[in-house]
């Protein structure tokens, strides 16, 4: 399980971020408005948490990287690049909250 998590952990964080934002905006829309400042701030804080989780993920993956060959090093490379793409996704999806 750890090895799968290493490979797709970044993407799981992206998925959690997407679902979280969608749920927050939907809930906000039911109670008041998804455009309300409170909802936006919640989204921003949540996004920041996800970005920090991605950074932690990248540090975890980067730690064992030196001198690695074979399947586990390959899986780590896949995980690192996944975390990078997930980071782009999270940043990009957070942008609407800031404007």
């Amino acid at each position: 399980m750890t090895r799968w998590l290493r490979m797709i952990g970044g993407l799981l964080i992206w998925a959690a971020h997407f679902i979280g934002l969608y749920l927050m905006s939907s809930a906000a829309d039911v109670w008041s408005s998804s455009e309300a400042a409170g909802a936006r701030w919640m989204g921003l804080v949540f996004s920041l948490g996800c970005l920090l989780a991605l950074v932690a993920m990248a540090v975890w993956l980067g730690r064992g990287r030196r001198g690695g060959i074979g399947p586990e090093a390959w899986e780590r490379r896949v995980g690192l690049t996944s975390a990078l793409v997930a980071g782009i996704g999270v940043l990009w999806q957070t942008a609407p909250l800031a404007f």
Binding site: A15, F18, S25, D29, A39, T81, S82, V85, G89
Partner: protein, 848 residues
């Protein structure tokens, strides 16, 4: 590399073996895996080499049929105000064109390619559930043909391939045309999910030893992600079709705003399936491209880990883009922005793959034979479709282009470039492996250029007609709007495309002629295991894989494999066997006995398709009979599973022995059951989403739930049932007399508990006066309870099944798989029911 299972990987150094193997070993292998010898054996065959060819053939048949429908539409639209097709007929034809292309061609075609190629590519003798694969194929073929024939009776669906209510509600679509769509694709959903189970377990559990994830062929990676996406996405369309059919047949108002329903719910559910569907189709094709391009360019794929990452990322992000089909529906602006951002973000992993292909072509010495041409042509067309995809991901542009011919152009560029051209590349590339004959190269080049030119002539002008305001799905148009010429050009292009397909069909018929030489061999110098010499048994012996490109990097591999110098070179005791390996490092775990063909899966498929189709024409009694027969056939098929083994272990080569039987999470059956439960859980989760969504539309219509006392009874019964189910799995392993009887008793108790809880909960709601046809709350509560109740009913059947097995002596303490799987199912059923009950009782308020 750390071992995953405790297997000593240094044992791989014993291969290739040098000792002589027993005489007659190859003959025994050939006899165990002999091909069909009579027409009945051809029909009941389960071997992937046969089913795979049938499957690809059937998918291409539907491609041709849907293509003919496209030509009829283009004939109608060639000139303004033509009367070639009546309006109603045109509606049926465009609906069937989209439906057949998406459901009967695109998904089955890539699944078929997986069934055909994966065993050879992974070094397995067959996929782990060959009868399930055959069942999936026959249900699809029989149901698909019957579904298509609805056109000839004027009964074909006519609401567009995404069947939006209220157009498809009883008010506006009173006939059975829409029911044909809703029930007709039921068997396709079952077939796709069955195939996905086969592929996931096959890729994770039946790889050649040493084939770690970094050495897993990119196509197999793509098929793994594709199958996982089916497991997540298809439940959404299963639920959507169930809800709409319930509304049409019984008046449960999920989509009727007058009773608290909302047509937007359909759009959410449909597109949560529908947009990932595009990537479900694209990913295997991309995997094929990432296999074909390196082979044709004679160089390794540039950025292999990046390509795998890109496919994984595409799989994830594709689930965050469904609402970009709904930008014009008035969703909250911030939600629209999230979906717009995700829609643009998904182009990053797609771009990574495209750049990897271009870099590979640049780094190698590309051969532009027909597979190479189709691969490069596919990249060009897909990039053009991708660029317009980024355009329509931008909300202001989408508002202008929505439902216009611009979208028709965009989706055809994406789907034809991303799937059809790669599929043709795959057929041209792999056919010499499958039929041992290549297709004609000169014809292939003609076919490619006709198809490439025809595609661009047909669809490029549609960008213009769309931007000039021509809406999609109109059966004719007035002259003088500037649409005449581009439409005429599109029609010419469509017929060029059709001519290319006709030439290809003729060449395929020529290729599969039953006479003439068959000795193509590895004509493309392909690097994968699928190019090893093979028969119905796949490879003669299962090699140790040390490279992503074993045939390029492991010298003498083909000769050693053919000489039986690797794993499992024979067929011990005349059984069909394959090696099961661990999911990450592919270390040998056990030998799987593969069942021989029988008719039960075929009968099961016939009656499954029959059930859905007969239901469509509202012959309910006959449908029930067909459904019962389908269940009987499937139970008969399962009856022969989990049979005893003559010996506990088998020598798989070089003195290495592995067990013949394992249970629990090591076994392939356990994995399959877990995947089935994920599908069930996803349907339930989405039904829960629907419940909350409908509440958010009209909270004023929501009434209080039943008294808390019945809640305690239901949840208490379910908790006991869950505990009994889990205890059964432990009980059967107790080394004492009566263990099997105790496990059987516990399973019967568990199944009785889940059924009793369903009845208690249903009665409690009924007593409150809540009716399913009166409000969206009633509809969604009873839909959730019905889902949980269906699982309880299946649990009851399983309880009966386990009792019968006990009575007939087909349960044993040393073979606990049957008990394990049923206990897993019942425990899940109990947990799912508790979740459902708590949701409907406690949200939005408990009413205490």
């Amino acid at each position: 590399m750390t071992s995953e299972t405790g297997f000593d990987v240094d044992k791989y150094d014993r291969f290739p073996t040098t000792e002589p193997w027993p005489e007659g070993e190859l003959e025994q292998l050939e006899q165990a895996w002999c091909g069909p010898r009579s027409p009945w054996e051809w029909i009941t065959a389960t071997n992937n080499n046969i089913i795979g060819v049938y499957y690809v053939g059937a998918a291409m048949l539907f491609f041709v049929l849907a293509g003919v429908l496209a030509l009829l539409m283009r004939t109608q639209l060639a000139l303004p105000m033509t009367g070639f097709l009546a309006q109603d007929t045109y509606n049926q034809i465009f609906t069937m064109h989209g439906t057949v292309m998406m459901f009967l061609f695109a998904v089955p075609a890539v699944e078929a390619l997986g069934v055909l190629l994966l065993p050879q590519m992974l070094g397995a003798r067959d996929l782990p559930f060959p009868r399930l694969g055959a069942y999936a194929f026959w249900a699809y073929l029989i149901g698909g043909l019957a579904f298509f024939c609805s056109l000839f009776f004027g009964l074909a669906p006519d609401g567009g391939w995404f069947m939006y209510p209220p157009l498809t509600s009883m008010t506006y679509s009173p006939g059975i045309n829409a029911d044909f769509w809703l029930l007709g694709i039921g068997f396709i959903e079952i077939s796709a999910i069955a195939g996905a189970i086969e592929i996931i377990v096959g890729v994770l559990k039946t790889r050649a030893p040493g084939m770690t994830l970094d050495k897993l062929p990119v196509f197999a990676w793509a098929m793994l992600i594709f199958a996982c996406m089916i497991i997540i996405a298809f439940p959404s369309i299963i639920l959507a079709t169930l809800l709409l059919e319930l509304e049409r047949a019984l008046g449960w108002p999920f989509f009727d705003p007058l009773k608290g329903g909302d047509p937007m719910l359909w759009q959410h559910l449909f597109w949560f399936f529908g947009h990932p569907e595009v990537y479900i189709i694209f990913l295997p094709a991309a995997g094929a491209m990432s296999t074909i391009i390196p082979a044709m360019a004679r160089t390794p794929l540039v950025g292999h880990p990046l390509v795998v990452m890109a496919m994984l990322a595409t799989g994830f992000i594709s689930f965050g883009v469904w609402a970009h089909h709904m930008f014009t529906t008035g969703m909250p602006q911030i939600s629209i922005n999230y979906f717009s951002a995700a829609s643009m973000a998904v182009s990053v992993p797609a771009g990574v793959q495209v750049f990897a292909w271009i870099a590979t072509i640049a780094a190698g010495r590309m051969r532009f034979s027909t597979p190479g041409l189709f691969a490069v042509g596919g990249v060009v067309i897909f990039v053009m479709g991708g660029l317009t995809g980024v355009m329509v991901a931008m909300v202001p542009f989408d508002w202008q282009a929505h439902d216009s011919y611009f979208i028709v152009a965009h989706l055809h560029y994406v789907l034809i470039g991303g799937m059809v051209f790669p599929l043709f590349a795959a057929i041209y590339y792999w056919l010499p492996m499958s039929s041992a004959r290549p297709l004609s190269e000169p014809w292939g080049k003609w076919i490619f250029w006709l198809m490439f030119a025809g595609h661009n002539l047909a669809f490029m002008p549609m960008h213009l007609t769309g931007l000039m305001g021509m809406p999609r799905r109109v059966y004719t148009y007035l002259p003088g709007r500037g649409w005449d010429l581009p439409n005429f050009i599109s029609t010419i292009g469509a017929f060029m495309f059709g001519l290319a397909v006709l030439l290809w069909v003729i060449d395929m018929i020529r290729n599969f002629r039953p006479f003439g030489p068959r000795e193509a061999g590895n004509i493309h110098a392909g690097p994968g295991l699928e190019w090893l010499p093979s028969g119905f048994y796949s490879v003669r012996s299962i090699p140790v894989v040390k490279s992503l490109y074993p045939l390029w990097d492991q010298k003498g591999l083909a000769e050693d494999v053919a000489a039986g110098r690797y794993f499992l070179p024979g067929a011990a005791r005349g059984e069909r066997q394959t090696l099961v390996t661990s999911p990450l490092n592919a270390e040998p775990q056990y030998v799987l006995r593969i069942p021989r063909p029988s008719g039960w899966h075929l009968f099961g498929a016939v009656f499954t398709a029959g059930f859905f189709l007969i239901l469509t024409i509202q012959a309910y009694a006959a449908a029930v009979v067909s459904g019962v027969l389908a269940i009987y056939c499937i139970m008969r098929w399962c009856w022969f599973l989990d049979a005893p083994h003559a010996r506990k272990t088998t020598e798989i080569g070089a003195g290495i022995r592995v067990p013949n039987y394992v249970s629990g999470p090591f076994s392939h059956g356990w994995w399959a059951m877990v995947i089935v439960l994920i599908v069930g859980g996803m349907v339930c989760l989405l039904a829960g989403f629907s419940y909350v969504f409908l509440w958010s539309r009209r909270p004023d219509l929501w009434q209080a739930p039943p008294p808390i006392s019945s809640l305690l009874v239901s949840v208490g019964l379910l908790a006991v049932a869950g505990v009994c189910a889990l205890a059964a799995s432990r009980a059967v392993r107790m080394a004492r007399d009566g263990a099997v009887s105790a496990a059987t008793g516990l399973l019967v108790l568990a199944s009785a508990g889940v059924i009793a809880a369903s009845i208690v909960e249903g009665r409690a709601w009924w007593k409150t006066g809540l009716q399913p046809d009166v409000s969206s709350q009633g509809a969604s509560v009873y839909a959730l309870l019905s889902w949980a109740g269906t699982f309880a009913a299946i649990g009851g059947l399983m309880g009966l099944y386990v009792v019968l097995r006990r009575l007939f002596g087909r349960l044993a303490a040393d073979r606990p798989s049957t008990v394990d799987l049923i206990s897993l199912f019942l425990a899940f059923t109990a947990a799912q029911s508790i979740g459902v009950i708590l949701l409907v009782r406690l949200f939005p308020g408990s009413g205490i």
